[in-house]
Structures are given as structure tokens and as C-alpha cells.
Symmetry: none
Subunit: 204 residues, 2 copies
């Protein structure tokens, strides 16, 4: 559960951050990969080369990471979140804000520099509007519930996850999937995805 800061080796700055977490440790990228484990909270400076990849591995390892940038942009914010980061803010944010971030990300939340959040969400929304149109003819022959299952499965979720999301049993998900496969003449979820994203494909 250690609090750690990761920056270019030898970077002794980060005064605001130090102020917010006096007891934290400062690490270089190498040490980070070696020492960070599940539950640790890491703060990565985006000035660091390969920060994205670092965040990705640390996140998969179960660490909770935030990215601090000297010049925040919505693109970098998204990149960070996509890499698994849970927070994104200006590197020189005031200590109170940093501590606030800490609270948020410690509770499964996401914290992003507010102005950026608007852009991020806005962009995503526009894009998904287009994505929503993809469904259509393929799903015509399916029932209400089957369509719902098909769409969620096509997002890449497992049966268990679909079950949770639709508040039904995994068994029921399988039942619907079976019907979907039969009706669409396909054999598994992979082909379902292909059928929904492109209309083409189909192999012997």
C-alpha cells in the first residue's frame, strides 16, 4: 500500500507532490518495475520516456496509478486512462488537489483535470453515436434480450461479465448466445463480433 512517485532517475523536484505525501518514496523507472506490486499507489511523470508502457504494466500488476503532466492535454489524458491510469492532472497541482485525487482513486474512482474531462467525454460521445449505428440488419431476427446480449458480448465482455451487467445468470447468457449463434448461423462470439463490426467476412 506504499505511495510512490516515479520520475526520470535523478529528478529531485516535485515540490507540491512531496508536500502532499511527505512519507512517499521516489523511484526511478527501473526500481518501479522491480518494486511496485498490488495495491501500491504510484504517481508517474509523463515526462518520463515510456511512461505509458510503465503505467500499463504496473496497472496490470494491480497497482493504482496516476499520471502527472507538465503540460496536460486531453489526448495525453486519454492515453493515460487507456493505459490503465486512474488519475491525470497537472504535475504542479496543489497538495490539496493531489490528496483529493488520492481519495478518489483509492475508491475505484477516476480523477481527471476537470476541463479535460469535458473534452474527453464529449469526444467519446460523438464517436459512440456513430458506433451505435453499426448494429441493425444483423440483429433483426433476434429477440429483445438476445440483441442486448449480442451487443454486450460484441464489446468483448465474458459471459460472466455480461451476466453481471444484465443482472441474469451466466447460464441464461449462454442460452441467449446459443440462440444467437443458431439464428445467425455462426459458431462463436468471435464471428459475432466480426459480423457486427463489418458485414463482410464469412469463411467455410
Amino acid at each position: 500500500m506504499a505511495q510512490m512517485f516515479i520520475g526520470p532517475t535523478g529528478s529531485g523536484e516535485m515540490p507540491r507532490w512531496r508536500e502532499a505525501f511527505p512519507d512517499a518514496r521516489m523511484l526511478g523507472p527501473q526500481q518501479a518495475r522491480a518494486q511496485v506490486g498490488e495495491g501500491d499507489k504510484v504517481w508517474v511523470l509523463s515526462r518520463l520516456d515510456g511512461w505509458r508502457e510503465l503505467v500499463m504494466t504496473l496497472s496490470q500488476r494491480g497497482a493504482v496509478s496516476s499520471v502527472l503532466s507538465q503540460s496536460p492535454t486531453s489526448g495525453e489524458a486519454l492515453s493515460a486512462l487507456n493505459a490503465g491510469a486512474r488519475g491525470y492532472a497537472h504535475a504542479l497541482s496543489p497538495p490539496e488537489l493531489l490528496r483529493q485525487m488520492d481519495i478518489v482513486i483509492s475508491h475505484q474512482g477516476i480523477w481527471v483535470w476537470p476541463e479535460l474531462m469535458t473534452q474527453v467525454i464529449g469526444g467519446a460521445f460523438r464517436a459512440l453515436g456513430g458506433a451505435a449505428s453499426l448494429q441493425s440488419e444483423v440483429l433483426e431476427g433476434l429477440t429483445e434480450r438476445e440483441r442486448a446480449v449480442a451487443l454486450v458480448v460484441a464489446e468483448g465482455l465474458s459471459n460472466k461479465e455480461v451476466a453481471r451487467q444484465l443482472s441474469i445468470t451466466e447460464r441464461t447468457v449462454k442460452a441467449h448466445l446459443g440462440a444467437i449463434f443458431r439464428k445467425l448461423g455462426i459458431r462463436d462470439r468471435m464471428q459475432l463480433i466480426l459480423k457486427l463490426s463489418h458485414q463482410e467476412s464469412e469463411v467455410p
Copy 2:
């Protein structure tokens, strides 16, 4: 700073939520528009007609709102966030989770049902030129052989079929796939397909 729940008039359910916030008030949409003000924390049921518009006005008024859905989807999540909501979760989430959400959104954070978060962020990432920057280099980090496997797998073929097509063992296919998953930071072939198919479908 009142905690309020807004659902269809006369909806007396929401046991889990009640449990989480015993002192909160339940309102109908009309009352909400009249009474909610700055700093109030409102929970809106997405089953409610016009929930999106409601969230939008309340948010602009300075209220902090979360949306609870009976059947959460990434699309609805984005829609909620875009309307100004700060939280999005299943309507029957356990009380501890709801209180956790409360903490997060009270600290300027965003809270979204974890499984959906990945999709939401993923969608957003693809939407804003992140697609161009990273997608093209998705396969860059892979070796010759890994790329070959990735492409065939993305066609929807099984490991056995890939093996036949590339004249290698199924075991070897698994080996390459393992490396691919690790390098791309994904967990299975479904996500690989999504990562690859979304790189060709972009908007003007």
C-alpha cells in the same frame, strides 16, 4: 448538500440505495427540478423518461449527479457522463459501493462501473485521434510471426485453424498469442479483434 433520489413518481423500491443513504429524500422528476440546488447530490434512475435532460439541467445548476441503471451499458454510461453525471452504476449495487461512489464524486471524481470504464475509455480513446497515433503502431511492437498470428486470429479463426494455416503447432500459436496479449496489454482474442478492427473504421 442534501442527498436525493429521483425516480419515476411512486417508485418505492431502491432497497439497496435506501440502505446506503437512510436519511436521503425520494423525489419525483417535477419536485427535483423545483427543489434541487447547488451542492445537492442527486441519484437519478435511468429508467426515468427524460433522465438525460434532467441530469443536464441539474448539473448545470451545480448539483452533483449520478445515474443508476437497471441494465448498464457503455453507451448509456457515456450518455450520462456527457450529460454531466459524475457517477454511473447498476441500480442494485450494494450499499458499500454506493457510499464509495458518493465519496468519489464528492471529491471531484468520476465513478463508473469498472467493467464499463474500460469500454468507455477505450471508445473515447479511439474517438479522439488516439486512434491514429496508437492503432497504427499496435502491431509495431510485435515480431514478424506474432503479427501474422494476430492477423489470422483477428479473422475469427480458432487456434487449431491458425495452426493449420501457418503450418505450426497449436502450442506455438498459443505461445505467440500469449506474447501478443502481454505486449498489447489485453486479456484475450476478443480484445485483440476489437483493437484491430477499430483501427480501420474511423470517421472523417
